[in-house]
Symmetry: C2
Subunit: 157 residues, 2 copies
């Protein structure tokens, strides 16, 4: 039954969302980036990334401006967002198992020993994703950039 190789796996859209948010947060304040540059920096196909950016814009994490001085810009709320918030802006709430979904009434919940394990696994994972803040990650990214390890230097994505 190994057909579902993507069991418990982040969607590509959410992965690209995290990448693009971190990259936008490395740019100087008020600097806007154009889609082709963002596609290059994140390694995402432009058309796909465009949809991801629209979703991030609807979620209030980036600002999208059209026209002469147009482009994408991260907003304060986006800099302060956690990886979890970025992921959930794209994919909706993350639950490792259906039994964890709020309001889902699995009638096994009260006694099922596996349910307790799922709660713990979800909490352990979320604690990491909650504490990973985009602005902080961007500082690490910028650090890698000055040592020549960022894709802006290698252009190899």
């Amino acid at each position: 039954m190994e057909s579902s190789a993507s069991s418990m796996q982040l969607t590509r859209a959410a992965d690209y969302a995290v990448r693009v948010m971190i990259h936008l947060a490395t740019l100087p304040e008020n600097e806007r980036a154009l889609l082709p540059a963002l596609a290059e920096a994140t390694g995402a196909p432009s058309s796909f990334l465009s949809k991801v950016l629209q979703a991030l814009s609807r979620a209030g994490l980036v600002l999208s401006r059209r026209g002469h001085l147009g482009g994408f810009e991260i907003v304060e709320r986006g800099r302060k967002a956690s990886m979890r918030e970025v992921i959930e802006a794209i994919d909706g709430p993350v639950f490792l198992n259906v039994c964890l979904i709020d309001g889902m009434s699995c009638n096994r919940k009260s006694w099922c020993p596996a349910h307790k394990v799922w709660e713990k696994a979800q909490a352990a994972m979320m604690q990491i994703l909650d504490s990973a803040i985009i602005a902080d990650l961007a500082i690490q990214d910028a650090g890698a950039e000055t040592t020549g390890q960022s894709p802006l230097h290698t252009l190899s994505q």
Copy 2:
């Protein structure tokens, strides 16, 4: 982009696999259970559970016998298995993000700040799933059973 409500979510097959393994481990040694009883105990549709049990049998976690004294029986390796092993027997290796897959060469890996977060999130989650052993969970389950909270008593799944 909220179409993928199942982002980072366990498959139903793996969820049922965990349920059936725990239930089989509550049974007395050498006792075999028939599919309808297992379907009732786990709340899984019989035909789907049958495929799950075949996969668990192929993985060497349960024994499936045909005929007069036939049925499904958990083996020692199955009792000692962790929830992670049961899940992976059904879904294959679990990776929260593609960049964690062994041998996948995301060329961002060496510097990407998100990659390090994914490694930590995966390790935190796996630590919980690795330490949840089927035999131990079955003891909790059996405990719930004697207090009348198990589905064998409620029959409400």
